[in-house]
Symmetry: C2
Subunit: 200 residues, 2 copies
DNA sequence: GATTAAACAATAATCGTTTTTTGTTTATTT
DNA sequence: AAATAAACAAAAAACGATTATTGTTTAATC
């Protein structure tokens, strides 16, 4: 019992078919109408379930919306994590993250939201908690790169992770900041330079 | 003649006392009430001039607001540029930029705007044109650092500038992203590492 | 010649009202 | 035991009428 309360603090279990249906419907609504114009009643109608059920799993509309984006992000991280297995080096991994990150921003739910509620998207992007989850993502890959001798073992993992995150976020957020890094090859060359030797 | 039209494309001349009065008044209004609640009439009253004069120098309210922020940014760049003269190395220069950039964000016009209209501030931060002016800022310093042997001459100036910009913007925008870089010394150490050797 | 004050239509903000939505609860159904 | 439907007060959104603001123009003033 007391599901909605748990979800506030613990994470959603996407395996629960009810949660999945709710999030699917909510995401569809957000995708089509944006957050403001999506009502809980509409989500219920689209998901063919009752409003009561939604409020059983989500404390309020805000939590529901957060759940949609949380799932999207989790999905992105899972997919990216899987894809990175096949990338040989840390530089390749980061390149892949940037490329797929940009793609998600251009054609995912963010793209449609950006058209109807750009300020909301801007606020999300600037919210530090938006990136918190991703921070735990890189350390293992940093360690691997250190063991493989790709990067130095002198630099501590937290510092390396910080730099990787900043580069990835910056490159997704600002495709061209002085330099116009468009193609995968350009991005890779840039990251290779920056990570391997900085400006030294 | 035809001042307002020129200003659209050329830059404002802050030496013109009328322009200065208008911008002073506008900035004061924005600082106290935010953009939405600031009216051109109120700006005129505060600046003790006529609405007509404001429209003589600025095409519309949007241009006026843009002018306020443009001047602020120009002032920041000028002050920073001057302060950098005294900083011995590129790393010190960038450190200074980050520290003073953070200070401006915390106590300048952005801080007050962020309280009343956070979405507006978020939108400005994510607007690439916000950083365009700063891009022309770094190349001379990069060249100096290359001549001094602080950084390699192999890296082209545009690439170096791009990295410096990304680091500065990221560190101002996200004070802690994994690592919590608070003090001047921490920031300097981080930048020294990243710029001089990357993760290699 | 530039600044101002006043007048003006077009646009946008505000206000009070009505309607919708939210979030909670209750009884009923699966 | 969980999902539903219905009912409900409180909060928020939508609406239309009113007021304020914008941006332009005009003639008067410095």
């Amino acid at each position: 019992m007391a599901k909605a309360e748990d979800i506030q603090f613990n994470s959603l279990d996407y395996d629960d078919p009810m949660v999945g249906r709710i999030l699917d419907a909510a995401e569809q609504c957000i995708h089509r109408f944006g957050i403001r114009r999506s009502t809980v009643g509409e989500v219920a109608r689209v998901g063919k379930l009752s409003r009561g059920s939604i409020y059983r799993y989500f404390a309020d509309k805000e939590a529901l919306v957060a759940g949609v984006f949380k799932r999207r992000q989790e999905l992105y991280l899972n997919r990216t994590e899987a894809a990175l297995e096949k990338e040989p080096t840390l530089v390749d991994k980061l390149t892949h993250s940037v490329v797929s990150g940009r793609k998600d921003m251009e054609e995912g739910i963010f793209a449609s939201l950006a058209e109807t509620e750009p300020e909301t998207v801007a606020m999300m992007f600037l919210d530090p908690s938006f990136y918190r989850r991703s921070v735990s993502f890189w350390p293992p890959h940093v360690l691997m790169a250190q063991e493989a001798g790709e990067i130095s073992s002198d630099v501590d993992v937290a510092t390396a992770t910080d730099l990787l995150m900043r580069l990835a976020v910056s490159l997704v957020m600002f495709p061209n900041m002085g330099l116009g890094l468009k193609t995968r090859r350009e991005i890779r060359a840039y990251l290779d330079q920056v990570i391997k030797r900085g400006l030294g």
